[in-house]
């Protein structure tokens, strides 16, 4: 790492009065009476200056992450329609969610499980595989291909939904339809994004396509930074194939990046859930085919204004995300 020109030293020369005091403080660990209060003061000054630095983030963090999570938990025990004040109803929302909400049990939960289990692990494995492949080629071509593979995730979301929509356009002039018609694979145009049969597979493909994000970059960096001598030592010790190399050397040496990538994959998968609504242009999605938990929250929160119930679903979602992340921690975390 190259050190920047430290111009602080020059500044100090013009202001020599500061020097003896500071030097005394850093050496004076012996608690003589006068110095004790001085150290005390210094400690509080340290504390204050640290607060100045951490303060802005801390305030935002509390305001937009901590309080909302606590508030969501609180609201989840109430009936709240935004007009009247929240009314405490205990666990009723959770009971309803698990026993009364047919849509949740019949569509939302199975869809979410299906979507997450496909997009999460496959997206993650694909990120690692692509990163590993990229590490096998020289820097110039790697840079270009990394850019290509990363670029879908930059616009994953609304801009891309538009492009996919044009491709999946439902009339015979739609790009996919006209191509399949010409090849004779289908006989009449398919309403891709409006069809309960096709919406989910399309969501999966589009999400996977856009899932090579931050986690992918982290894993690429991790693979490139594995100490080369480890591989050489491993070959002397009798590792034979590249597959063994990956499992015995590469992955164990980059566990922290693997974990970072895994956590990002879990969070990314949950957030990618909105794609169903973007593609079909409706919440709820046609016959709930693409309805995931995250859409269910919006449906109840901002369409039906049942904020208490929506909050209960949010809490469940946050719990699921947390549990899955903990699972990743089990797999890749370093025990200490």
């Amino acid at each position: 790492m190259s050190l920047p020109d430290v111009s602080v030293q020059r500044e100090e020369e013009s202001n020599p009065a500061v020097l003896p005091k500071q030097a005394g403080a850093s050496e004076g660990k012996r608690p003589t009476l006068g110095k004790a209060t001085f150290l005390q003061k210094k400690k509080w000054r340290e504390e204050g200056s640290a607060m100045v630095f951490i303060g802005p983030f801390l305030i935002l963090f509390i305001l937009f992450i901590v309080i909302p999570v606590i508030a969501a938990i609180g609201l989840s025990f109430t009936y709240f329609n935004t007009v009247e004040a929240p009314k405490f109803i205990g666990l009723q929302n959770y009971v309803n969610l698990l026993t009364q909400d047919n849509v949740f049990m019949m569509y939302v939960l199975p869809n979410t499980i299906k979507f997450s289990l496909i997009v999460g692990p496959i997206g993650y494995a694909l990120s690692f595989w692509l990163a590993w492949l990229l590490a096998q080629i020289p820097k110039k071509s790697r840079t270009v291909l990394t850019l290509v593979i990363y670029s879908p995730s930059m616009t994953a979301g609304i801009a891309m939904a538009v492009v996919w929509l044009i491709i999946f356009s439902g009339d015979s002039a739609g790009y996919l339809n006209s191509m399949l018609l010409k090849l004779g694979l289908i006989y009449e145009p398919v309403q891709w994004t409006q069809s309960p049969d096709y919406l989910m597979p399309i969501m999966v493909v589009v999400s996977l396509w856009g899932s090579m994000g931050v986690g992918f970059l982290a894993m690429l960096a991790g693979i490139l930074n594995v100490d080369k001598e480890l591989y050489e030592a491993a070959y002397i010790d009798g590792i034979k194939s590249r597959l063994q190399e990956v499992f015995y050397i590469t992955i164990p040496s980059m566990k922290p990046q693997m974990l970072f990538g895994a956590v990002m994959a879990v969070v990314g998968t949950v957030q990618a859930g909105v794609i169903g609504v973007q593609l079909s242009g409706a919440n709820p999605t046609p016959q709930y085919a693409g309805q995931l938990i995250i859409n269910h929250i919006d449906d109840y929160g901002f369409i039906r204004y049942e904020m208490g119930y929506a909050s209960a679903i949010s809490v469940i979602l946050l719990l699921i995300v947390y549990l899955f992340s903990k699972l990743c921690w089990r797999l890749f975390g370093e025990k200490d």
Binding site: E12, F57, G157, A173, K182, G281
Partner: protein, 290 residues
């Protein structure tokens, strides 16, 4: 020791790498086709958009769609340029402020000692698994309580709480040797001087990464427009794009404009990433979670 020494991160092309190229090129093609399609669609003149059967690539590229897009107004009579202006202001502020806030927090978490430091760092790691969309309802009430509905701050402030960026900066500051800071502080530099003259210049790669993340978050952000803003004049370009999707089915004329708008969303992301990609990889090497 080159009996079978590793081929990871090779210096130059070797014929044995062909299989990696084949797989990578195949997958990259899948990745980039929709993007090429977006370019091509955005540049198509009207007669090519209506062509039947449709053709993937544009033959006579034109900027017509961009011109049409710019002169559009939304159904509520807000001109497109207004949405774009809002997006630029909001994204610019979010990028600058996120860099500043996370640089300061990363510095404090890495090099300073203070009460609750461990707790805050742990909380930040847990918060990396946080999904903002799950708590839009409480956030909405907070924004309303603070009186930020229908203000630019209502767009900007919620996006600044970005735990990943603080984490990345903190990991990067960890690499700076304490001795360097100690030397400077014995020479009389206070924390602000340390931060400005030593930390800030040294964590530029991490900040480049944070800037990219913040940019993507803010530029693609729809939620704050949908939920916190009632005034159409304060909504963002991404929000406008979202309204386009509902009108796309069987509306060929709108497709060219929609693709042009998609391109406007995409290009800034691309440019920023191209300029900063080497720094990003450098930062990501320190991104490990332990």
């Amino acid at each position: 020791m080159s009996i079978k020494s590793t081929k990871i991160n090779p210096d130059k092309f070797h014929i044995s790498q062909w299989k990696f190229y084949v797989i990578l090129l195949a997958l990259s093609t899948f990745m980039i086709l929709p993007i090429i399609f977006m370019f091509s669609q955005a540049l198509k003149p009207m007669d090519e958009l209506f062509l039947y059967p449709p053709r993937f690539l544009v033959h006579k590229p034109t900027m017509e769609n961009f011109g049409d897009l710019m002169s559009q107004t939304s159904t509520t009579l807000v001109p497109i340029t207004r949405y774009l202006f809002n997006s630029v202001i909001i994204t610019g502020s979010v990028v600058l402020l996120t860099c500043l806030v996370s640089a300061m927090a990363g510095f404090a978490l890495s090099k300073k000692n203070f009460m609750m430091k461990k707790v805050i760092f742990e909380a930040n790691i847990i918060a990396m698994m946080f999904v903002p969309a799950a708590v839009m309802i409480p956030r909405y009430f907070i924004i309303e309580t603070l009186g930020l509905t229908d203000t630019f701050l209502g767009h900007i402030l919620p996006l600044l709480a970005l735990p990943v960026s603080v984490f990345l900066v903190k990991q990067f500051v960890d690499q700076i040797p304490d001795s360097l800071l100690d030397a400077a502080s014995i020479d009389g530099a206070n924390d602000f001087v340390l931060f400005r003259k030593i930390i800030f210049p040294m964590i530029m790669p991490a900040l480049a990464t944070v800037a990219i993340l913040a940019f993507q978050l803010a530029w693609n952000n729809i939620e704050t427009s949908v939920i916190f803003m009632n005034d159409e004049n304060l909504k963002t370009f991404a929000f406008y794009m979202n309204t386009l999707t509902s009108k796309l089915e069987n509306n060929v004329a709108g497709q060219g404009m929609a693709a042009a708008a998609g391109l406007i969303m995409f290009i800034p992301n691309l440019i920023i990433f191209i300029f900063m990609q080497s720094k990003v990889i450098n930062t990501m090497a320190h991104s490990g979670l332990k």
